[in-house]
């Protein structure tokens, strides 16, 4: 591994700025059969809840131009099952282990952190998902209210020393106030962004394609929105930012980092080209060599026009 690629997200050391985004790599098993995941900075688990969740019924995916809508609805085996069957596996991958935590209420998040904290030696960071658009209560509704963000992060902060990365939703008018609320609550980093709320219509049936009616839009189309949010938040935050949204090539990673990200997550691109994070890593290494630059020095070097 090139020394050029390591980054620090607060106190968390990552071999590379590239993390696989939650919900687009399951728990790592399938992709580990396709390429060596140890080249990555980390892998974020599927969003977990206290109890197992079956997720939404019917059609859960709608293809769009330059992206897709999903309405999986947090299908997951529950945190207990995860600790028993998946956490050790993730630890064999020789990469950062990020656990994505979801819930419907403050109590859910508290119970989740209490369940995970005893396993802290196997976890590099908790990614608190305050941004899933596909469940009826909790999650995104908590993440669109800055008072609630601050309160919940503050409560979780008291329960664990594990790094708390707060994953925010772009479905708000003022993202920087949400990010500041997470910082005020004691977050170690913010992850920007989760999917954008969207809808697709089947013109033959005049019904939404997704049986949940709406879903989360991801893929290259949302990248400019994510970059803008990273840039806006970088200018007001003291804590690091993990950028996410529409990354599918090495230059996208550079763009996010220049705009202010300390690390990035790759999501939907893995669903189209499963080993693309490997190519992106190789290209980033080559770029760093060519430009005689360590990747971590890029963060926030964006110069805005006056």
């Amino acid at each position: 591994m090139s020394e050029r690629l390591f980054v620090n997200v607060g106190d968390t050391f990552l071999k590379s700025p590239i993390i696989l985004a939650s919900g687009t790599c399951n728990m790592g098993r399938e992709l580990s059969e396709i390429y060596d995941l140890s080249i990555l900075g980390g892998l974020s688990s599927k969003g977990l809840t206290i109890k197992p969740r079956a997720g939404n019924e019917g059609v859960r995916v709608a293809e769009c131009k330059a992206g897709m809508l999903n309405s999986v609805g947090l299908q997951n085996p529950g945190v207990e099952h995860f600790i028993k069957y998946d956490l050790d596996f993730m630890n064999t991958l020789d990469t950062g282990v990020i656990v994505n935590v979801a819930g419907h209420s403050t109590e859910d998040y508290i119970d989740m952190v209490k369940a995970l904290d005893p396993h802290k030696d196997k976890i590099d960071a908790l990614e608190i998902n305050l941004s899933c658009p596909n469940v009826k209560e909790g999650c995104m509704s908590i993440g669109s209210d800055k008072e609630q963000i601050k309160k919940i992060v503050g409560q979780l902060r008291k329960l664990t020393d594990l790094p708390l990365w707060i994953k925010l939703t772009p479905n708000v008018t003022d993202i920087s106030s949400m990010a500041l609320a997470a910082q005020d609550g004691g977050a170690d980093a913010v992850v920007l962004i989760n999917t954008m709320l969207g809808m697709a219509v089947d013109i033959k049936t005049r019904r939404p394609v997704l049986h949940n009616n709406t879903g989360g839009y991801s893929g290259p189309a949302i990248k400019p929105v994510a970059i803008r949010m990273v840039s806006e938040c970088y200018r007001v935050l003291d804590i690091p930012i993990i950028g996410c949204g529409g990354i599918s090539e090495a230059s996208d990673v550079l763009e996010f980092m220049i705009a202010g990200a300390s690390a990035v997550e790759i999501g939907t691109a893995s669903l189209v080209v499963p080993d693309c994070p490997q190519f992106i890593t190789e290209e980033l290494e080559a770029w760093c060599e060519e430009n005689d630059t360590d990747i971590r020095t890029l963060t926030g070097t964006l110069q805005l026009w006056q």
Binding site: T24, V59, M68, L271, V272, V273, P274
Partner: protein, 253 residues
């Protein structure tokens, strides 16, 4: 282990106006694919398109897929000509269990393609195979074979009726001890699976669901399957990774 391969089309024929059968060179996929598996093919649209494997030729290192044109992606792929290439991920999913010696295959819609691969494989192994295929009318008939029992809803070819009407023409001798393998539209698979249940036969079906990754990492393609654990109504299994082949008794239709 599945990988992404850049593959070239080695031949193509149009089976009717809206369906192409294309042959693709990929020794890696041809050498290990089993009936029931599929491939996920890159086109110009954002997501890949899943297609069942219709035939393999291990010596030539090729396999075939049948593509019915239903939208932009299938239209583009069906228009690929010899020498053109694209990225193909596969072989994906679990194939059929072929450990029995006696099978009845039932196909309809785009299910006729995997049924063809099953027929080639089982007959080359000298196993007993009966095939029933159903179509809407005579103009839709593709991938047929004189040995097959043919049915059409319109009655303008073969037996008038659906696949179950075709199955009803089988003798007890044909039926006893057979396993049914069925690929086709949901209502057809459902009807065939209840026919099998009445006759006390094992039946396996290949489910179809909208997919993204095709390799089990996104959970968009789930099917409702009876739960193993008590107290849970059903499991959402991934069609692409846990299927697409499921025991018909386990499927919640």
């Amino acid at each position: 282990m599945n990988k992404d391969f850049f593959c070239e089309v080695t031949s193509k024929c149009m089976l009717n106006e809206e369906t192409a059968l294309i042959e693709i060179l990929c020794p890696e996929i041809a050498s290990c694919a089993v009936p029931g598996q599929f491939v996920n093919i890159t086109c110009s649209n954002f997501l890949r398109r899943p297609f069942g494997i219709a035939s393999v030729n291990k010596e030539a290192g090729t396999f075939k897929v049948g593509i019915k044109i239903v939208g932009e992606g299938s239209e583009e792929l069906a228009s690929m000509d010899e020498g053109e290439g694209t990225w193909i991920l596969g072989p994906l999913g679990n194939g059929f269990d072929l450990s029995n010696n006696k099978y009845i295959l039932v196909g309809g819609g785009s299910g006729v393609f995997p049924i063809n691969f099953l027929y080639e494989k089982l007959s080359s192994e000298g196993k007993s195979v009966k095939v029933v295929q159903g179509f809407r009318d005579a103009s839709q008939i593709i991938m047929n074979n004189d040995d097959y029992i043919l049915t059409t809803d319109a009655g303008d070819a073969g037996i008038k009726g659906n696949c179950c009407d075709g199955l009803n023409t089988l003798t007890d001798e044909d039926i006893n001890g057979s396993t049914i393998l069925c690929v086709g539209p949901m209502p057809m698979m459902r009807a065939v699976s209840s026919w099998a249940e009445q006759k006390g036969l094992d039946c396996f079906v290949s489910l179809e669901q909208r997919m993204a990754c095709g390799i089990g990492i996104c959970l968009v393609c789930v099917c409702k399957i009876k739960a193993q654990e008590q107290g849970i109504e059903f499991d959402h299994k991934r069609c692409c990774k846990d299927g697409p082949v499921f025991d018909a008794k386990e499927v919640i239709w």
